[in-house]
Symmetry: C2
Subunit: 156 residues, 2 copies
DNA sequence: GCACCAATGTTGGCGCGGCCAATATACCTC
DNA sequence: GAGGTATATTGGCCGCGCCAACATTGGTGC
């Protein structure tokens, strides 16, 4: 009927992109129902795990551009989920910290994410889920800062 | 250093999204160098495999919104890669067909895609690539139109 | 102390992919 | 002929990822 062209259907590239779209849809849907979006969860996760930190650190850890961190932190602050105060030790920095309400919100979003993820992984057995996670983890490790592979570029 | 929060790093959701971003970057980079973008390749692939067809069919097969098909087909036509002629049998439809130049362009993009994909899958053995493709294919099949799973929604 | 460079945050903008609403035209069925 | 449906088109919105430019601040070498 509306089968995708073979050129697409057989390529991991296509599969990955399509699946990412599906899972993103699931997740953003759940997040939206909770009044959040992806960036919020990422930043809250980093704040909860690593404690108060600068926006630059947040961006580096969560793979969010500094300019986008500005907006996202602003939104979190507006909702009372985080505080942004000038760092007295270094007045260039903003010290961003998670609040109690933010921690609660994060726990809520954790549930949302787990639900979405379970729905997404439904057709796979626990063993296969581990396989998948392993393969993806290795791929991501290879394509991360500090993983030469194809682009060592030592002379700069 | 700039490790991602555990909440993210351990979740297939995160891995998939990050990897999709990486691979998309690789592909769009290559496509851009050839003066193309993702939608162009998708449509050309469908045109090459299924022959001349309406924009609605193109959109359904390639998972592209009809309104976006309009623009993409227009771009392809501008480059001489496709022709858009009113279908005499059904004057609502446009009959979109690939040209010789379009077929050549598609072959070129095939090479670009394969190169990018090889770079992306570099850390995996052929066996693991097959494993990955299999898992992703099954997931996508489950999350496709006509795969109830979680959303049969018979009563509407 | 001063000049220079690096880091940080902020504003504004761009592109792609995905999606939706409204509209006009043509077809098809009753 | 009336009403509903399919098709193309226009216009717009959002999220994510990214970049350029700028001002402020910190640190470094002279």
């Amino acid at each position: 009927m509306d089968n995708a062209p073979d050129r697409l259907a057989g390529r991991p590239t296509w599969l990955l992109g399509q699946l990412a779209g599906r899972v993103r849809h699931l997740v953003t849907e759940g997040f939206a129902a909770a009044g959040a979006r992806g960036y919020h969860y990422r930043l809250l996760a980093a704040l909860a795990q690593f404690g108060p930190q600068s926006q630059a650190q947040l961006g580096a850890r969560c793979r969010v551009d500094p300019s986008d961190v500005v907006a996202a932190v602003g939104e979190l602050a507006d909702h009372g989920y985080a505080t942004r105060t000038p760092d007295p030790a270094n007045r260039r920095r903003n010290r961003v910290a998670i609040t109690e309400a933010g921690a609660a919100h994060l726990r809520l979003l954790d549930g949302v994410l787990d639900t979405a993820q379970d729905a997404f992984l439904a057709p796979l057995t626990p063993d296969e889920r581990r396989q998948l996670t392993d393969l993806l983890t290795r791929l991501l490790a290879h394509h991360s800062p500090g993983s030469p592979g194809t682009a060592p570029e030592p002379p700069r």
